[in-house]
Symmetry: C2
């Protein structure tokens, strides 16, 4: 007997025919004694239709009421999926997020799960029922309905799996696993059998879009293995877990990621005095602008002048430039230069810490492809290079080829 | 300051434009200190669309899951209406039936309200908010979502008004009050300013479709005056209350109703022995068939033979005939005769008990119009006659004219 949580996204339940197909697949893959909890998103375009209705009423709808509105999307799909199981002769029951004990904070539209109280789920499982939980939603301490924001149904599934100490948490999605690079960019990209939570988190942070970081963090927190699989094929997929179970890893580098939603700001000619970086980055932090790579380099040590270069999301560029100029305007800074025609390529691998040649190999691959590196940053499990945006495809292929086909 | 509960049906909130219009009207009619609770149905065709989705999955969907599905309809409309108030600069909050404390039994799809725990509504009102409650739905003792069946939002509104001891409960609907007869049948029908709960209950039982009996019963139970008004006009409407407040009533008869959803069964030649009627009507009761008028007449007192005639809803005719035949098959009953081309016309008025001429006046009106009476039955506040269905319009007009224009 296994206790398995399975999550199906909006495209998997977009029509009543697809909802029937999900029920059929779950029953086909279920061992007789398995206990199954399903977490389901809203049907296909439902959320967009609800957003459109709200937009007809108000350009800036109240976020509490927006959550009240949007939560109906999953409630519809769980009820229909429960009917589908019953039509196939199985016993099932649907639960809203609040009914399933998904407790969140009160930050409407991007609430965080604080706790899952799985009593109701457990009692329904004990009755032999397949339990179908509305993803993406929970209950605030005030008793209001909240939604979790992007990737919320994944997070619901992982949190429930953690609270139930489930044997596995399967995320059914429109890709069939985690690849060594984006398969649309790198033809030879390989599907990974296993990857660690930390590697997946770093890959998500650096541009991989398979899983939202929140759900992977949740998996790490609860020690839940997350099995990423395709709704539309029978492929084995990728298991995201704490540690590798396979004796030997094929590759130290687990993924090459890229991110083109990045812009660069260079503050040139900053006087080399304490507190200046603090002033600049405090101003950005107060405006809730996420700064990614930061490099300070010495322009001229005799004149005590530095350059500070950092990257941010493209959408924040204009605001960040204004703040940087204001923060440095009395410092005799020469210039604030911005560039949004840049991209970041990264390699991720938990084993790279003990492998000193990784950075050299990455830089060599880029050099050989004639690609100039503008900024470099590293973490314990990743190395990132900022390059020109029009070279990103070449860069990812060159790096991937060196690490995975070399 | 007044505490007012107002209920708007599905046609009042069928589009986002109509939802805005409801919010504007409520604000226009609101005195500055008034506390307002709104009870709202699902938008126009939403329920039909959800039923259609369920029908695509299963011909006989599970009723618990059906309630889970249908309850989303009101959740959408309350969230949108709350957004509309906020767009107009008012403070409002939407609540599902369960959040509003509407506690029901577990009879899915036609649950009965057992209690309303209005703590959340009260605390939101105390914060100066307009409270918008999803009608038609509640919470079962097991923590599941239930729906109340036909007219459920009216019942929600009256139950909440009762629990809050509201000053009034206004039901906005597509007619502008309770009429002395169906205005589509009787051109001269008058709108009543006032009518008692008991009269309204009797009129609903006898064919008037303005209000479902459940909500009127609830109003009677809590002593809540129910004010029936039109969504689309500013007419004064009709107040349904315990006792008349006006010094003198204009008319003893308050309404002439008709019902064509009726069929007649005659059991001819029943032996005059104790226990036979019991056997027949027990069989019908066990099959959950509602019997309306019952008349037993003596055919031949020497031979001790009676005829028993009763009426039922048309849909139950075939089943009832079979049961009647079976229950009497060993009794030497001559024949079971059925007829579905019949209709019932009734007069209702709480004051008729002390006015002996009412029945004579009604029968006289029918006789003068050349209409034969097949069965007569009376209650403390009504008299009903079964006639041929094709004469129903003439009958209602003849009776109405005698009592209201005579």
């Amino acid at each position: 007997m296994a206790l398995i949580v399975k999550k199906f996204g909006g495209s998997s339940v977009a029509t009543t025919a697809k909802i029937m197909a999900v029920a059929e697949r779950v029953l086909r893959e279920k061992a007789p004694d398995d206990k199954i909890v399903l977490v389901v998103s809203a049907m296909g375009d439902t959320t967009d239709e609800l957003l459109d209705l709200a937009g007809q009423i108000s350009p800036h709808p109240n976020s509490r009421e927006m959550d009240m509105l949007l939560a109906t999307g999953e409630q519809v799909s769980v009820a229909l999926l429960a009917m589908a199981f019953q039509q196939l002769g199985s016993v099932s029951v649907s639960l809203t997020g609040p009914q399933a004990g998904v407790m969140t904070n009160s930050v409407y539209s991007k609430a965080r799960i604080l706790d899952v109280k799985p009593d109701r789920i457990k009692s329904e499982l004990a009755k032999g029922r397949i339990v179908i939980v509305a993803g993406f939603q929970g209950l605030s301490p005030e008793g209001d309905i909240t939604t979790l924001g992007r990737g919320g149904s994944d997070t619901t599934a992982v949190a429930i799996a953690g609270a139930l100490r489930a044997d596995s948490c399967e995320i059914f999605t429109d890709v069939d696993g985690v690849y060594s690079a984006d398969p649309r960019v790198v033809k030879a990209a390989r599907r990974m059998k296993e990857i660690t939570h930390n590697e997946m988190l770093e890959m998500a942070r650096l541009g991989a879009v398979v899983m939202q970081p929140r759900s992977v963090e949740m998996g790490k927190h609860y020690g839940v293995p997350i099995h990423v699989r395709s709704t539309f094929t029978q492929e084995a997929g990728t298991i995201i877990r704490e540690e590798y179970t396979m004796q030997e890893r094929e590759f130290i580098i687990r993924g090459v990621t890229h991110d083109t939603n990045v812009a660069k700001i260079a503050i040139l000619g900053v006087p080399d005095r304490p507190g200046i970086a603090h002033k600049i980055f405090s101003a950005l932090a107060n405006a809730a602008i996420d700064v990614d790579m930061i490099v300070q380099s010495i322009r001229n040590s005799d004149q005590h002048i530095n350059d500070i270069v950092f990257t941010i999301a493209k959408a924040d560029l204009a605001k960040a430039k204004g703040l940087a100029e204001q923060a440095t305007k009395d410092m005799g800074v020469l210039r604030v230069v911005v560039e949004d025609n840049v991209a970041k390529v990264s390699v991720v691998g938990a084993g790279m810490y003990g492998s000193p040649g990784i950075a050299a190999t990455m830089f060599g691959a880029l050099a050989e492809a004639g690609i100039n590196i503008e900024v470099i940053s590293t973490s314990e499990i990743s190395i990132s290079c900022l390059i020109q945006a029009d070279q990103v495809k070449d860069a990812v292929n060159a790096i991937h080829s060196r690490f995975f086909q070399g």
